[in-house]
Symmetry: C2
Subunit: 435 residues, 2 copies
């Protein structure tokens, strides 16, 4: 079939078969299908949609465009977590050790951050000596021994996605649920875990603004994962305000350690417990029930076994574990500026994106790929949506680099807080579970 | 506004304003908007449509991308006819002289044909000495004196259309009524006639297969023309079988001359009379009625005045007018192969495209731009849809070049005729008039 006819078929709302999808995607990666045909195709997909089966074939073709990572050397149930992204999301740092403590295996490939704050790799590298650049055999050995390791992604995973995403980004074809699902799932399925927990963020600070869209994305990703023979569950969680209290690299490592000791903020604690329970449920083929799973998760936190796994992982990856054992030693700025409430009332919204951009301006994130992150800076939110505040009360503690002029960042932070005269209902964190 | 936002706006079904349309089209012509953004935009237009006003702005921006042809030097009511194209369509050769005889002014810029049979220019060049390559001042002088001249198009009209059409052709975005209307009308409006008669062909042999689509295209083109301040009428005519009897270059000149003498086939005669009447109606601001207009058209044919205009035009453009005065002198092959009916019954269909391709195989059309046309060859259809035929009866006379093997062409011709056992209703020629 000619590329033209594949575009036309999708344009007319018909369902493409596997080899038609393979032909256009493989042709695009190889360069025989030009950008202008792919962008017309993507717009047709955007406007006419794809069935679950088409989306699976798209995902499968995309993932086969590059290398895949075999985890065959790891004994036990390998499981990964993917978050659709948000501000203050240090879930991976907490969840990995909990899952390891539950005897699951977490072989995580992660990325660096661009914008807002650093990625998981950046956060870990704020620990002195910690290396994410580890040879594969050592990585596998650590996962088998400790249960968790987090390294930088070096394999050429899913080049089709890189090329397609760059094109979607300039042709207004990003916000398509089948295309988003295929993009995420091709990258996750390229790493051959047995299980996958998807943390789909919903709300003003997330990619998915509406619950119904997020639910559809979750349903589709679970469907793709199952068609690929993986065990998958998606948790829909609120991202109308940042997750937890800390934003910034060392600050988030601190909060992760506290949460693993059972002293973390309630929202982050609740979310990681749910994610860990769901991972346990899929790993046991649901031979245990939800409340049994929750109990086991609480147990590994209460006994300190989960926290110990973080220490072990840091040590195994060359990091100075004493900064985890004694978090006072983490490199956190001593220059703290209080952010004060300008009015009395109830916090009605905390704009995630503004908070993230302000954190970047403080130095916690990269504006360009080459920029260096300042691990020490960031902020701690002392108030959440729904809280009552008095004028002049502290909304957040801002950890700054005193050599910078932080006025603009602090102004931005301040404007991210909305205060209403009427009482505001605190928001529900877990919105749905799709499996 | 960024190109991205213009694409997104159309993708979301919103209406673009004039300067947004200008920005993306002008950017595309200048090369600042790349093909891949334009093809995503075109697919969004294809699937989301355009309002009449948007389509007018699109047309206007396209026509302003290149040169325009002023006809200010011509005294009187300048009028052009455009046909959406079909097989055996020699309407321009007949209509031009009739309109000149009615004291309208026809300054026609025409093209060469590719595929099927030659274009109007090719047909005229089958007359010995006839030149379509005439300087502008001479062209204007002939139109003022004779009333009609037909020359080749040399100006760089509507480069936006050339670039957009090439892209649409490979991205499955051709069959969009707003895009078709803008493409046709930008080219027609670039020549500054006062009036325009659109002959919109409908049926299996036409670009528009369905009456409702053709009616929408006609309505939209009339709307664009009026927004541009021109007088426009569209006639919808049947193209379920070739128009007239002759297909081939000299053969069509012969048929045009016969029709101007009142001895042409009934379908061609009916169509040119309607088109001429409509031109007369718009030129007089409908101060006369339809039946008065028809009467004037019949008069110029009956008195020989229309035929005389063809002779004058041929003479003015350097052609040997004696081949028109005595059409026996036209270069037409003497080698005639009869095409016989293989069964008895009623003609249910004559596939235009197959007839056209067979004519090209005989030598009457170009397969590539460089190919040379054989003016002498072609065919004469002796039967029309609805006619009763006996097995062995002659369906068509095929004028061949005896030096070629014409077997495949004749086989193709034969398979273009469909014969049914049940009586078939002859088809109505004029389907609607939109003004």
């Amino acid at each position: 079939m000619r590329t033209y006819d594949i575009i036309k078929k999708k344009r007319d709302g018909q369902t493409l078969v596997q080899n038609e999808i393979q032909q256009i995607i493989e042709g695009y990666v190889q360069g025989t299908v030009p950008d202008y045909q792919m962008s017309a195709f993507l717009m047709a997909v955007f406007l006419k949609g794809m069935t679950d089966e088409e989306t699976f074939h798209l995902t499968d073709t995309m993932l086969k465009s590059g290398e895949t990572v075999s985890l065959a050397g790891i004994k036990g149930f390998t499981v990964d977590k993917h978050s659709t992204g948000g501000v203050g999301d240090k879930t991976s740092l907490v969840l990995g050790p909990i899952l390891a403590a539950l005897d699951l295996k977490v072989a995580k490939l992660s990325g660096r951050g661009l914008g807002h704050t650093g990625g998981t790799i950046d956060k870990l590298e704020s620990i002195k000596g910690f290396s994410c650049d580890i040879p594969t055999d050592k990585f596998i050995e650590i996962v088998n021994r400790v249960g968790v390791a987090i390294v930088g992604q070096t394999a050429n995973l899913v080049p089709a996605d890189k090329k397609m995403y760059a094109l979607r980004d300039v042709t207004a074809t990003v916000d398509s649920i089948p295309l988003i699902a295929a993009s995420i799932m091709s990258k996750k399925l390229a790493i051959e875990n047995k299980g996958l927990i998807l943390d789909v963020k919903v709300g003003s600070g997330a990619f998915m603004k509406k619950l119904e869209d997020a639910r559809e994305l979750a349903r589709l990703m679970v469907s793709i994962g199952k068609q690929a023979g993986r065990k998958v569950t998606a948790v829909l969680s609120n991202m109308d305000e940042p997750l937890g209290e800390m934003i910034g690299n060392s600050l988030e490592v601190l909060e992760a350690a506290e949460t693993l000791k059972g002293k973390g903020p309630s929202d982050l604690t609740e979310l990681v417990k749910i994610l860990a329970s769901e991972a346990l449920l899929i790993s046991t083929n649901r031979m245990i029930n939800q409340s049994q799973a929750s109990k086991k998760v609480e147990e590994v936190i209460a006994t300190g076994r989960a926290f110990k796994k973080l220490v072990e992982m840091v040590q195994a990856q060359g990091g100075d574990q004493t900064v985890i054992e004694n978090t006072d030693r983490l490199p956190i700025s001593k220059d703290i500026v209080p952010l004060l409430a300008e009015n009395s009332g109830f916090i009605s919204a905390i704009e995630c994106e503004e908070i993230g951009l302000a954190a970047m301006m403080l130095g916690a994130g990269r504006e360009t790929k080459e920029a260096k992150i300042d691990f020490k800076v960031g902020l701690r939110l002392l108030k959440h949506v729904g809280n009552k505040v008095e004028k002049g009360e502290i909304l957040a503690a801002v950890y700054v680099n005193p050599l910078l002029n932080n006025e603009a960042a602090i102004k931005r932070l301040s404007s991210a807080f909305h205060i209403s005269q009427n009482p505001v209902q605190p928001q529900k964190l877990i919105l749905d579970i799709v499996s």
